[in-house]
Symmetry: C2
Amino acid sequence: MKGKITLKQISKELDVSISTVSKALKNSTEISLETREKVQAFAKLYNYRPNNIALSLKNRKTKNIGVIIPEIVHHFFASVISGIEHEANEKGYNVIICLSTESFDKEVINMEMLANGSIDGFIISLTKETQMLKDYHHLQEVINQGMPLVMFDRIVDEIKCDKVVIDDKKGAYDAVTELIEIGCKNIGLISTVDYVSVGRLRTEGFLEALKDHNISVNQDAIIKIEDIENCRENIAPLFDHKIDGIFAVNEIFALTAMNIARERGLRIPEDVSVVGFTDGELSKYASPGLTTVSQNGLLIGQEAARMLIEKIEDESEDYKTKIVKTKLIVRKSTKSRS
Amino acid sequence: MKGKITLKQISKELDVSISTVSKALKNSTEISLETREKVQAFAKLYNYRPNNIALSLKNRKTKNIGVIIPEIVHHFFASVISGIEHEANEKGYNVIICLSTESFDKEVINMEMLANGSIDGFIISLTKETQMLKDYHHLQEVINQGMPLVMFDRIVDEIKCDKVVIDDKKGAYDAVTELIEIGCKNIGLISTVDYVSVGRLRTEGFLEALKDHNISVNQDAIIKIEDIENCRENIAPLFDHKIDGIFAVNEIFALTAMNIARERGLRIPEDVSVVGFTDGELSKYASPGLTTVSQNGLLIGQEAARMLIEKIEDESEDYKTKIVKTKLIVRKSTKSRS
DNA sequence: AATTTTCTCCCAAACGTTTTCGTTAACAGA
DNA sequence: TCTGTTAACGAAAACGTTTGGGAGAAAATT
């Protein structure tokens, strides 16, 4: 019993036309009850299922959505995928995933591959390189082709499309405000380079929080890191200043800072309070647990998928930007409020 | 400029037949140079790309591979996906991901969806439920249909197909041997319930290591956990016994144990040495760093994709099982060798 | 001049569906 | 007997490709 059975084979076997088989399977009253039952029984016996590719070609709908992300071994992106997949699955869509591995070229190539009929719409988070180069022609192209596109997290204002983001600035502002309110006077920042949109926004939130509380900024206590792999060396100098609080824009920076601090004999949170960003596994299982700004990846993914599918099915023309709320999750890496 | 341009449109525009356009674009010498150049220029101008769906239908090859995993917010699975994606991408394949979320029914439904022509082959890791129910009809069905299938990690002997696994038993054996050799006398085990294949195998490795070193087994120091969410309550009783070593079958169990130990005033590794399984982010950034058995997810994914694509393209009939080596990564959660 | 070869090019089938529009035959009404 | 209606089914087009087999005309051979 090799290969799937087709309408044609059934029609030949039962000595009726292909169209009769198709209609019979749809239980059309156009076909006599007798024939219908015969066809349906046969189809069931051979476990007939319509071929998706043929359907896609006919309907010009693939029921696939394409997702392009820089990386997947990454708690945030993985949870976004999870959210996308759940929403998509519920609506009868499949998810095709391409990894750009932070390379502009791969991002472009992947988009072009998928844009040639494989999918009905895109969900994408840009690579750092794309954000640096500011080259968005590939995005504009698919939009021009009439293919819906939703961007999340690493977005870009120049492109008009649906977007899902968290309020990075406010998340950072809240985190830093917490540090200030528990009594920190010298707060360090560990961020990414500025062309990464989320890094820039979180830095802005950091600065604004300090300003609003009349705390002057110590430029030496602001570290911007390009390469996450050897962030240790970049972070270490921070402890040459006498700081009592650290805001890091991701979990790894935060934990690395905590580890260095401990090695230098500083206690957490008594001597230094630390707040991170992204509530992943690391924050939860670190010791002490890391106080962190939670960005609900699952929800972001769900929203993105929902917006995309709506665009695919309704073709409406207005572009929305959905802002998913962040929440400060207080654990033991920050002093408790007195 | 909406929608993609087709051969038909080009042919109409240039007043030649569709087949002439197709052949001209393939630079067939059958077509006069003049016509070829005209067609190619036009195609380039309008950025013509063949429609993947039409190609799939024609060639009866989708160049898609389907991956079904229980969960994606999970370091190991995410890295397997990453490995699959890289290998697939290199060979010109796309990856369609479905999450079974540990549900047998979703696994079956997803397989049926994809099996109807959407993909050329499967890579799958079974849900716990499937392993418990021992119902593999959906797997056998796709195999009978002639669709290649590769299983990884959570596999099953009853199904004949290509497989990629790590040597769970040996990994566990090595880990426990390390504990014994650094002087642990009372070693506890934190495992999963037995129907999960990897949990069972790692438990076997644990037992065998003890036996080979003539250490008797204390059944009370063996904990089998069903639900990872509230593993804390299950693990806590372990410390009612005087243990000096712990082998946990995953990172979370290990870290949870470490946290509980610390709360009870036990020092790590001085009082208790802990070894985990899976070298994820948690192990790396925990403090102290967790000694762990590394299972190279990336490599597993690559191997699985490689085997699958070979089956897709060569249709050979022999089934192999590839065993990817584990490696014990020693960090600070275990005493150093004296 | 008649035949064959060569060069261009095009038709049509095929992949597996769905759906519109016939077509045929039986039967009723006039 | 003729027209109209209805039930049951089938042919064909369409989605966008690729490709084997022609076809027509010019060039070359006999």
